[in-house]
Symmetry: C2
Subunit: 273 residues, 2 copies
C-alpha cells in the first residue's frame, strides 16, 4: 500500500480536523502517516509548518496532503500560497457559501474554547463527567434524579465507556447500573431505579461476545462461561421487555454509535455540541 | 440574533460532522437549531430526510443549512438534487481532489466502525478506558509500567477528565496520581511514581481558579481556601521543577487543548485516530 504523509494544520487542537480527515482517508487504499500541527496561530508558525511540509515533499518526492482548519486569513494565506502540498481547506470551503447565504461576514474568531474557565457549557461538561464517574456501575444511588439517562445491562455490556462518552462529548449526565443475578431472581429492577424507569435505557450484547470479553478478564470463571452469559443476557432482556425499557445491542457497535442511538431515543433538552 | 435550522445528515453517527459544522457556524452571529439525522444509509431514508428538510424550509420561509457526510453516491444524490436547503457536502468536496491526487477511486465504504468487535484499534481504546478508570486518582500503583503517560498534580487540577479523554479519543493509557500535602512535606514524588518519572506529566492551575473549583464542592473548607490552594500549587510546581517534570497550566484550557499539548510533548508511538 502506498504511504503518504498527511499534515493536519490547525490554530486549535486540530482534533476534529484529524478525525474527519482520517475518515476521508480511510476511503483510499493508502497508508497515511499523520503529522499533527496544532496551535498554529501566527504567520511565523505558519512559515515553520510550510518549511516542514516542503522538506517532506522534497524527501519523499510526492506531494503531502495538507488538511487545514485555519481561521485567520493571513495564516491561511501563507499555507495556501507557499506550501508544496495538496491543501484541503476545511474551513473557508464552507465559510464562503455560508457568508453568501447569511449575508454577513464570518468573525474569523479562533477556537471554540477561548474562555473555557468562564463557559457554562464547559462547566456542564465537567460536571457531567464527574457525575458519570460517581454513578458508574451502580456506585451510588444518590442524585439519580439529576441523571439525564441511566444505562442498565449485565456486567461488561458496554455501559461504562458509553456513560463516559455521553458525558465527555455531549455533557449528558449518564449514570449506569448493572443488572445482576439477584435482580433476575427477584425478577424486577433494582429498587433504586424504580422511580427513574422513564430515564433507563438498556444495553444488551450477544452471549458469545460477552463470554469472550469476560474471559479476557476472568479466564475460565463461571462468570465468563458461555452458559452463564446466555442465562444473564436472556434474563436481562426478559426483565427490560417486561418493564418496557428500550434497549439496543452493543455487540457490533462502537461507543459513538451506541451513544448516538441513545440520544436519538431519549432526546434530552440539553445537549452540548 | 437570526435563528437557522441546521441539519446534519450522515450515514454514520454524524458526530464529527456536527462538531465540525458547529465550529464553522460559531463564526456567524446566528443561533443554529440543530437537527441530527444519523444512520441515513438508504435512498428511502434519504427521501424521508429530504421531506423533513423541505417542510422546514416551507414553515420557516428560509433555506435550512444541510451539512452532509454521506458516502454512498445514490443516497447523496437524493439529498443534493431534491432538497431545498443549502447543502454543504463535507465528504465528496475532499474525496474528489484526493481521487485525482492518488490516481485511484475511493471505496465508498460507509462508516469507520463497521467491524468494531474485531478491530484491534477499538479493542485498544476500550482497554485504555478501563486502564485509565482503574488508575484514576492514584487508585492503583499496579501496572503503572503499562501506562503511556501518568498525569500528576494537586487535587482538582484537571487530571481525571484529561486522562479519560486521552483514553477515549486516542487510546492512550493515561494514569493519574494526585500530589498531596504529604508529598510536599517529604519533598519528593510519591514513591510509586519514582520508577516512571519519564512518563510523568504535570498539570498545574491558578490558585484563584482552584479555590473556586474546590469551593463549589466543599464550600468554606480549609481544602478550598485560597491560602491552602496557593500553598499546594506553589509546592507542586516546586516539586515538579526539581524533578524535571514538564507541566502545563489547565486554568484557561479545555480538556482537548490540554490533551493535545500533552500528546505533542510525550509523542507516544501508538495513537488511535
Amino acid at each position: 500500500m502506498t504511504t503518504r504523509t498527511v499534515f493536519f494544520v490547525s490554530d486549535g487542537t486540530g482534533i476534529t480536523a484529524e478525525t474527519f480527515g482520517n475518515s476521508i482517508l480511510k476511503q483510499f487504499a493508502i497508508q497515511p502517516r499523520h503529522v499533527r500541527m496544532p496551535f498554529i496561530d501566527t504567520v511565523d508558525k505558519a512559515r515553520q509548518v510550510v518549511a516542514e511540509i516542503n522538506r517532506t515533499a522534497e524527501v519523499e518526492g510526492r506531494r503531502p496532503i495538507v488538511f487545514t482548519t485555519l481561521v485567520d486569513p493571513d495564516v491561511l494565506h501563507v499555507v495556501k500560497e507557499e506550501c508544496r502540498g495538496l491543501v484541503l481547506d476545511m474551513f473557508m470551503t464552507f465559510v464562503e457559501p455560508l457568508e453568501a447565504e447569511f449575508g454577513m461576514k464570518s468573525s474569523h474568531r479562533i477556537g471554540r474554547f477561548s474562555d473555557v474557565a468562564k463557559s457554562q457549557e464547559y462547566h456542564n461538561r465537567i460536571e457531567a463527567i464527574n457525575f458519570s464517574l460517581a454513578h458508574d456501575d451502580g456506585q451510588s444511588a444518590k442524585n439519580l434524579a439529576e441523571a439525564d439517562v441511566i444505562l442498565i445491562g449485565v456486567s461488561r455490556s458496554g455501559k461504562t465507556p458509553t456513560s463516559l462518552y455521553l458525558a465527555m462529548q455531549h455533557g449528558i449526565k449518564a449514570a449506569n447500573y448493572p443488572l445482576i443475578p439477584e435482580d433476575f431472581e427477584r425478577n424486577c429492577l433494582p429498587s433504586a431505579l424504580a422511580p427513574h424507569k422513564a430515564k433507563c435505557f438498556g444495553l444488551t450484547i450477544a452471549p458469545e461476545r460477552l463470554a469472550e470479553i469476560r474471559n479476557s478478564r476472568r479466564p475460565g470463571s463461571k462468570y465468563a462461561s458461555l452458559e452463564n452469559c446466555r442465562y444473564e443476557v436472556a434474563a436481562a432482556e426478559a426483565l427490560m421487555r417486561r418493564e418496557g425499557i428500550a434497549w439496543l445491542s452493543s455487540t457490533h457497535k462502537s461507543i459513538e454509535e451506541i451513544a448516538t442511538t441513545i440520544l436519538r431515543d431519549i432526546r434530552p433538552d440539553r445537549l452540548v455540541y
